[in-house]
């Protein structure tokens, strides 16, 4: 990128040879070794590098996920199950990828906030900012496309809702939606093209990141003081000063990321993501991932069309869609909406609070977006949308002209000297509160689910906690309950007889168990299906050959497959236990429909499943008293194991990884301090 004709000299002859022909080492040296960077960055300046690392992690884990993924409406869900359960470290790939998306957004949202707070979008960095907004849009598209691929209830319905946004466009909207789907509903063509685009877009993101960084290296970085460098005293070379600081920040961030991946991988996942897509039934509550919730809340805030002379000019739907897309598109115009000559919010007393209020506003919108779209959620959504637009369209231009700003520091080095040594991380510490709060609130609505049922019992499970592990005796009892009771109606098609070795059965016991079932196989050489004894490699025998037979036999109800049941229900094993013990007589004024039973914990209380377990029903082989409590507990624990068979391996590896990361962070902090010790 350097236009100079002079050739750089390198000690290494190979490096010299390559560099004379392709000056890649000169470029690295100019852009990182010599590149002058303001010396007063705070830790907010880490998040560009962190976002870049997250992009790499997403691409790498994504490519390996793709090696195991089948983009077919009948196979996609099963292929994700297969990846998680059967592929070596497949669970790690999947949990890194799905949580990686969340952490990528955390990094990017903080990066974006940094840009707004310190005025990094202002002259001469408008293009850096604009390409940043392009990146945000590309990321959102990629995240949405990826969310559809597991072909779960959330995938299918998310795809339906988001593509239907385009139907708000007058005249051509309907045609566009059909075109996006490649059919008349979300189906095979949709899945295929979404997969292709989900694979393609990250590479386009890489290209735009290159442009984003290139533009940044032309104008140079902004800094917390918002004054441009005036002399060499104001800057340090990017390497080693900021490579050291960025490495430290990145490792700290990744430690938190790994803590979630290894110890709470489903923290941010919706249970409906573990149910296969049913194109005839929308789940009762459909919500996007937390990072889309504020925009989703704006979408739902508009419920009344605008009418002129009795004709609807703009429908409520069109307003909502426009408000949602507009909330991102408006960011493109920020460099021209804010004309203040002062960049950093530090010296803009009113703007500073207006922006902090915007952050709180986003937290409120996130919270509102996760609630059912009635009552207070709508009120919060409307207030949130109003302030959002008020901030960008009114406050930014007004404050840019009228705000009385504080005196700027003389230079970057003056600012550095004034602040050096006391509370370099104070800004970040202050900012952590709203971001953590936002994430917490985004999760809160899930816990408040189904308000008409009592809170779930909070039992102690041996597998809980960082060091928790399954109780094999309980798992075997649970399997006995499944085998003798549940398996009369419920299948477990992702669990194989051979998997039972993990809960303590021997190979011989498993062989004998499998052989006690007759499995339909074929066709044989005469084209006939035939019966054969089961093998350890068969999945647990399903009670019904297909869903239609099950419905016909069970009064139209379809018992869900139990392989994933614990992950697919809010509350996990506690929910399973609650349902099994929740059959109580219906209140006097409650009308229970024919073919249904009353259950306190079931949403709506009308459950088609007759009470499956009673005290004394199963004679436990290990002599455990067969109370209802013991029966329900052990089968709930067994189902937890079936949903999360790699939990113990995951936690063991997690402890090692976290310890490594903590030591690594310590070493990098010491390195960073050493590197910075000569900067005064």
């Amino acid at each position: 990128m350097s236009g100079s004709k002079e050739k750089d000299k390198f000690d290494n002859k190979t490096v010299q040879w390559i560099n004379d022909r392709l000056p890649i080492f000169s470029m690295m040296n100019n852009e990182y070794g010599k590149f002058q960077t303001p010396k007063n960055f705070n830790y907010f300046w880490n998040f560009g590098a962190i976002a870049m690392i997250m992009l790499m992690i997403m691409i790498i884990t994504g490519v390996f996920m793709a090696m195991n993924y089948v983009p077919s409406t009948t196979e996609a869900f099963a292929s994700i199950q297969h990846t998680t359960r059967e592929v070596n470290y497949g669970w790690l790939l999947r949990y890194m990828h799905m949580n990686g998306a969340s952490f990528f957004f955390i990094a990017v949202y903080i990066h974006l906030f940094r840009g707004l707070y310190y005025g990094s979008y202002k002259k001469p960095r408008e293009l850096v900012w604009i390409f940043g907004v392009v990146l945000l849009l590309l990321m959102m598209a990629t995240a949405f496309l990826g969310y559809t691929l597991p072909w779960s209830q959330m995938s299918g319905w998310g795809a339906t809702v988001i593509t239907s946004l385009f139907s708000a466009i007058p005249l051509v909207g309907g045609g566009i939606v059909t075109w996006l789907w490649g059919g008349f509903s979300v189906g095979q063509p949709t899945l295929n093209r979404f997969y292709a685009f989900h694979f393609l877009l990250p590479f386009i993101i890489c290209a735009v990141v290159f442009i984003h960084v290139w533009a940044l290296h032309v104008s140079g970085s902004n800094n917390p003081a918002g004054v441009e460098p005036k002399s060499d005293k104001d800057t340090v070379p990017f390497h080693p000063y900021y490579t050291a600081k960025d490495s430290f920040g990145t490792v700290v961030f990744m430690t938190i990321y790994f803590a979630v991946v290894f110890f709470a991988p489903l923290l941010l996942a919706n249970p409906d993501h573990f149910k296969p897509f049913n194109h005839l039934q929308t789940p009762p509550e459909i919500v996007p991932e937390w990072y889309f919730l504020p925009f989703y809340a704006m979408l739902r805030s508009f419920t009344v069309g605008i009418k002129i002379f009795g004709h609807t000019l703009i429908t409520a739907k069109q307003q909502g869609v426009a408000a949602m897309f507009g909330s991102i598109l408006i960011l493109f115009f920020v460099p021209w909406l804010d004309k203040s000559p002062v960049k950093s919010a530090r010296y803009r007393p009113v703007f500073k609070w207006a922006l902090r209020l915007l952050v709180l506003n986003m937290v409120m919108l996130t919270y509102a977006g996760g609630l059912p779209a009635i009552g207070k959620a709508l009120v919060m959504g409307r207030i949130g949308a109003a302030y959002y637009y008020f901030f960008f369209l009114v406050l930014l231009p007004y404050l840019g002209k009228r705000e009385k700003t504080l005196p700027l520091p003389e230079s970057i080095s003056a600012d550095f000297t004034a602040r050096h040594g006391h509370g370099c991380c104070a800004t970040v510490k202050k900012a952590l509160v709203p971001f953590t709060l936002g994430l917490g609130l985004a999760l809160a609505p899930h816990a408040a689910h189904a308000a008409d049922t009592p809170p779930l019992p909070n039992l102690h499970w041996p597998e809980q906690g960082i060091f928790g592990h399954y109780d094999k005796a309980a798992l075997q009892r649970g399997f006995q309950v499944y085998k003798e009771v549940c398996s009369n109606c419920h299948s477990m098609k992702y669990v194989y007889y051979r998997n039972l070795e993990a809960i303590g059965y021997t190979k011989e016991q498993i062989k004998a168990l499998a052989a006690s079932y007759q499995i339909t196989d074929g066709p044989d050489e005469n084209g006939q299906m035939y019966q054969r004894p089961g093998k350890p490699t068969d999945h647990l025998k399903s009670p019904f050959p297909n869903p239609e037979t099950a419905r016909a036999a069970l009064n139209g109800a379809l018992p869900p497959d139990m392989s994933n049941l614990v992950n697919a229900r809010e509350g996990g094993p506690n929910y399973v236990y609650a349902i099994l013990t929740g059959y109580v007589p219906a209140p006097k004024d409650f009308h229970v429909m024919a073919g249904h039973m009353y259950n306190e914990y079931f949403p709506g209380h009308q459950i088609a499943m007759p009470q499956p377990l009673v005290a004394g029903q199963v004679q436990f082989q290990d002599g455990t008293p067969n109370t209802l409590d013991n029966e329900a507990r052990s089968v709930a624990e067994f189902l937890d194991w079936a949903s999360n068979p790699h939990m113990e391996q995951r936690k063991r590896l997690g402890i090692k990884v976290i310890l490594f990361m903590l030591v690594f962070a310590g070493v990098l902090l010491a390195t960073k301090r050493k590197v910075w010790s000569d900067v005064t």
Partner: protein, 187 residues
């Protein structure tokens, strides 16, 4: 050099090296799950055995079954064929092995039907197929010729065809994938 400066430089070098080494070790460890995910998955490994009914294979004819996604050649050998592969100087062969070390029962040869040259499937299973000079199998890709023991006799292939582990469950059913382990030097 001033000792204080030197001490500072040593400490800096030590930190650089430690940080660099930890980064390299971390990246190396992170690569392993990715590499290992490309190995056969648990279900693939578990599905490694198959049972074949050989009751309908007449003397002098052959059956092709499937084992781990590859053809499995099962040939019911005639007394003359058995004699041709046993009464000979096997020590001079390219991949020297006696027929006895490649079979459990003299009349049955069971091998993975994949040429050891570059992985094509040799001809010789069907009645009309060319079987080469040694009346065994002939690979159409590059002309490797095998005898009725599946041993390489002529052509570019380096090794005899692979004998999978198997056992006879009964006189008419053979279980392939576990049982007797045959020596397969070179594999």
């Amino acid at each position: 050099m001033d000792p204080a400066v030197k001490k500072g430089a040593t400490r800096r070098d030590f930190l650089y090296l430690t940080a660099g080494a930890m980064g390299a070790v971390g990246a190396g460890c992170a690569a392993w799950p990715l590499i290992d995910s490309m190995n056969p998955a648990a279900d693939t490994l578990a599905a490694g055995s198959t049972e074949v009914d050989i009751s309908k294979v007449e003397v002098g004819s052959a059956l092709t079954a499937v084992w781990r996604g590859s053809p499995l050649f099962i040939r019911h050998r005639t007394p003359a064929e058995i004699k041709s592969v046993r009464d000979m100087d096997w020590k001079s062969l390219r991949d020297p092995q006696p027929d006895e070390a490649r079979t459990l029962k003299a009349e049955w040869i069971i091998i993975k039907g994949v040429c050891t040259h570059l992985g094509c499937i040799p001809l010789g299973q069907k009645p009309g197929d060319p079987r080469g000079e040694f009346n065994g199998w002939f690979c159409p890709c590059h002309g490797s010729q095998y005898d009725v023991s599946g041993r390489i006799r002529k052509g570019p292939a380096p090794l005899n065809m692979f004998v999978p582990p198997y056992k006879f469950v009964s006189d008419t059913v053979v279980h392939v994938g576990s049982g007797h382990d045959f020596p397969n030097p070179g594999f």
